[in-house]
Assembly symmetry: C2
Homo-oligomer: 208 residues x 2
């Protein structure tokens, strides 16, 4: 393979879930497909970060305003939305999770994206999470947060992260809640795993 | 999601095997990862096709010489290699297959990349294959091809394509051969499928 194509494959391999073989396949495809395919993608990506960045406040994706100054703080559409309930803050692991919750249409508060979960196996500890930034938002005197809803996934790492966030928020006077875990809507009890069923029973609620 | 990110996701979805979800994941990753990740990939891709193109002769990947004229014919390293046997032409479906055969170190001839296989289900018929270009190479009076080795995969579409190529080459005076199909090296007979075993037996050879 030409050296330039190997370089492209290496860059593709940085994408999540893309191994060496897949990266090589992408590179070969772009070297032989219609020229615009590579050029269009390249042009968009080269300037992507001049237009889209993480929100300085919550970590969600934010689109930069036309003619924004480089030192101007970046704010996402949700952080800028004045109709949103500032007293309710939903903590998620990834932007994808935020988008999924938004699609449900149930969350009317604001968000905070951790960007990662605690993961001892991958060497990710509490210091690697943006907890100081989260703390500043929760105790902001101009917009105090009364409830922190921790919506990390109900996995081992997600639960550990939820416990950590709950502990960190304890002294700040906000109520800390956790999303419910149980049998998913439309799910079959017969095929639910033991832990899910156990949680569904432990988390049972009274009628009415 | 910001419109620009949706656009990036759409462009990613053109890559082979990348669905909408994966494309969105790539876009979100690049919008939040280190800025260089998006910029480096974008810069390389935007100019990729100024440097790497399909060989006009065989369809293999070719690197353009520094300062090459736009109307200059593009030739890959294998087509330019004078030590290669011009009388032996190996016909493959994809550049990946060519690279795999090159790694075996056994093929000393030249190649021809079809780019695709016959596939009635996908609406790909004989007219969609570069058979005219193949014919011109085989009957080139300056470097006539004496053997056309058809190395399309031993699948339904691969076999149909091999038959078509054999029929097209029949009148040109070249011998047409097909790669052997059978139990792979290191493979276990117990776990070989029926068709593979059948071919291994039909294609049996005498000792010595």
């Amino acid at each position: 393979m030409p050296e330039r194509l190997t370089r492209v494959a290496h860059l593709f391999a940085r994408l999540p879930g893309v191994g060496e073989k897949t990266a090589q396949r992408f590179a070969l495809f772009l070297a032989t497909a219609d020229e615009e395919v590579a050029r269009d993608l390249g042009t968009e990506l080269a300037t992507l970060r001049d237009h889209v960045r993480p929100c300085d406040r919550c970590g969600n994706i934010a689109e930069l305003a036309e003619g924004a100054q480089p030192d101007e703080p970046v704010r996402c559409a949700i952080c800028r939305d004045e109709r949103r309930d500032k007293a309710l803050l939903c903590v998620v692991a990834r932007v994808q999770d935020l988008l999924a919750i938004e699609r449900s249409g149930v969350m009317r508060g604001k968000y905070f994206v951790l960007g990662r979960l605690l993961s001892p196996l991958d060497g990710i500890s509490a210091e690697d999470l943006p907890l100081e930034r989260l703390r500043r938002i929760v105790k902001d005197p101009e917009a105090p947060v009364s409830e922190v809803l921790v919506a990390t996934p109900p996995s081992v790492d997600g639960e550990a992260t939820a416990l950590l966030v709950a502990r960190e928020m304890a002294s700040l006077g906000a109520r800390v809640t956790r999303i419910a875990s149980g049998v998913p809507h439309g799910g079959d009890l017969e095929f639910a795993d033991q832990v899910t069923l156990g949680r569904a029973i432990e988390g049972r609620k009274s009628f009415g």
